[in-house]
Subunit: 394 residues, 2 copies
């Protein structure tokens, strides 16, 4: 245990506040809105110039959610509400097909470009609907979010319903991504009314547990339906950032459900993944690893990605807020130091997304098909709020 | 012009011979055959141990072709013929579905794992059939190759026939990959009987030309059907290794068709792509670039891949054999030096596949879902044969 008064909490709180409100949010406020067609340009180069005018729907949904969340939890600024509604109206009008499926990518004007045989566009759309329902006089949005969640639940554990073929030789298993995103989604949609999703929550927790091995101290990305190990590159895959994010999603539920053993598992998931995932030679957290020690087959396994570090910042701070263990504080500080030194861009705002193993910037873009206004501001917001809470406890 | 006698041709010829027959082919002979189920293990770690027993069909077809080619052009060794037949029998029995589509991946015993909505598994299968038809008393294999080619041709320029949906907002265009692989495939299947494919050859040449811009000195990977530029990351994408490979495919046709202007274009494609693609700071050829100077969005754009360098070795040597320009010889030597220093593994044989920008090995694997017994031995064989030919001209 460490006394909070011994820690520079207010320095960190100020740093996160400044980064969020002076460098990150203004970047998206200034460069992303498409006031003509609605939605946002999310493929932005270092300085905010759009290098691709297509609109990637994961990021449209996530940015919509982010601005609505700022409005609902930080300050009811009209501009934030307007930006959220710019996103949600574009999404409702342009991103959903007649089957209720949500496109992965649409053109500048909202013509469909690509539909994935996955559930994630739908998840980020549903999050956006729910938060916009809360900040506007449009309760139908919250209802639509719940309807979307019902559809997602129906599809989530059988992607053949989305047109993905299943072949006799393919390993049957489940990906950590699915139960973890559903835990977050139920949290976002149901809020305090979560009790009506109790069965779904319990099922997702059960499924996340299948990926966790206390013996091996790791969280596998893909396991057999009974949790047993699949000895292939897919079954040996570790995605430390994912497991760390799943850890804090689970911790939120452990706190709400008041289940100490679940809280400990959530802490362990973060600890194991950080221990295995940290690069002790060059710093930062690897993107992928093979728990058997083989080369991962993903070309980008050794890269250091912004979102992985965003998740670790909040997960370590959350752990520390519960354990008061100086080792958790040290993990937060170690991650914070690496992250701000390598990803932040004081000159143009927002963060770089991609570094090589040694920490050199490989991509100057600030937004792309998988990076937008989401992980950086969400992590900064969550850390800033938690640092404020810790300060009040000193 | 440079006199051949001034060049250390025999040193290079010996080096390529040794690398091919002492370090590369033995690796695959020793570690890849699955004598029990047929086919080959193609996911092999540095020392040849299988880290995944699934069989990736691109590599099954390519390895089959490679051993048949060694048998037909180097020496009729029974072991090479047997290895080729081990591959083709597995493929014919296990890799083709009832529609004539060829799987992307099958299990160790040949159960289907994944089917791509692309034509490449079919292309590598057809190459393998044709070469096995030549080396065995099984003329039906050559007939099957021609039938497969007919199917591929029907699918090649409209992937909606393979179940790939087309959406109203997606840019219509064509990928360089398709006409270039077809040029190679017709060459492999028809051989001296190419005249009956004259219309298809001309159409592929016309299509490859659409990707080439003498003004910008570049070869774009994706262009509109009339060759005009699409100003998106997809339309600005350069894949120098691909363009260099397309260059030598085209050069083979230019020689056969005796068309000097086509030969010059093929030379230019290699020159432009090498000039744009070479990393003047750390050496090696980039995987992807954006011709507009933006960050490519592919995470692995800055990496140095073995196959890109394999293609460049042969393309430069082929150019030199035609131009006798010392600058082409220098490009061959520069590529050779980088390639052998970075990719070759004298200890265990075969080559590493993946380096970071600075040339450090990122993946210790020798075979994986996209790397097998193909680019290294094909390039070594082609260079060795051409060096022999040049030696005879001194």
């Amino acid at each position: 245990m460490i006394a909070l008064t011994e820690l520079p909490l207010s320095n960190y709180r100020q740093k996160y506040e400044q980064e969020l409100f002076e460098r990150v949010i203004p970047f998206w406020e200034n460069y992303s809105p498409d006031r003509e067609n609605g939605g946002y340009f999310n493929c932005l180069d270092r300085s905010g110039k759009a290098y691709d005018r297509k609109k990637y729907v994961w990021l449209q949904g996530r940015q919509t959610w982010m601005f609505a969340k700022l409005y609902s939890t930080v300050e009811p600024k009209a501009e934030w509400r307007n930006l959220a509604l710019l996103g949600i109206d574009f999404l409702r009008n342009r991103a959903v097909n007649t089957d209720g499926r949500v496109y992965f990518c649409v053109s500048e004007t909202g013509e469909p470009v690509y539909l994935q045989r996955k559930i994630f566009s739908e998840c980020f759309y549903a999050m956006a609907l729910a938060e916009c329902g809360r900040i506007s006089e449009r309760p139908e949005l919250l209802r639509e979010a719940e309807e979307m969640l019902a559809k997602i639940w129906e599809w989530a554990f059988d992607w053949s319903k989305l047109g993905r073929p299943s072949f006799s030789g393919a390993d049957v298993g489940q990906s950590l991504a699915v139960p973890m995103i559903l835990l977050n989604l139920i949290d976002e949609i149901a809020g305090e009314g979560w009790a009506r999703y109790r069965a779904e929550i319990d099922d997702c927790i059960r499924r996340v547990r299948l990926h966790c091995s206390a013996e091996e101290r790791c969280v596998r990305e893909f396991v057999a339906p009974d949790g047993s190990v699949i000895d292939t590159p897919e079954g040996r895959l570790l995605n430390p950032g994912h497991a760390i994010e799943a850890g804090w999603f689970l911790q939120h539920w452990a706190q709400r459900l008041q289940r100490p053993e679940l809280s400990q598992l959530a802490i362990d998931m973060v600890h194991w993944s950080f221990e295995l995932g940290w690069d002790y030679e060059y710093g930062g957290i690897y993107y992928f690893l093979d728990v058997g020690g083989f080369s991962p087959t993903q070309l980008e396994w050794f890269m250091k990605l912004w979102w992985v570090h965003c998740e670790a910042l909040y997960a370590h701070l959350l752990n520390f807020s519960l354990t008061r263990d100086p080792a958790d504080w040290d993990k937060f500080v170690r991650t914070d130091t690496y992250t701000f030194e390598h990803f932040s861009d004081p000159q143009y705002g927002e963060w770089y997304g991609y570094l090589d193993r040694r920490g050199s910037i490989t991509h100057s873009l600030k937004g792309g098909p998988y990076k937008g206004c989401f992980h950086v501001p969400r992590a900064l917001l969550l850390c800033w709020q938690l640092l404020q809470k810790l300060e009040t406890e000193t």
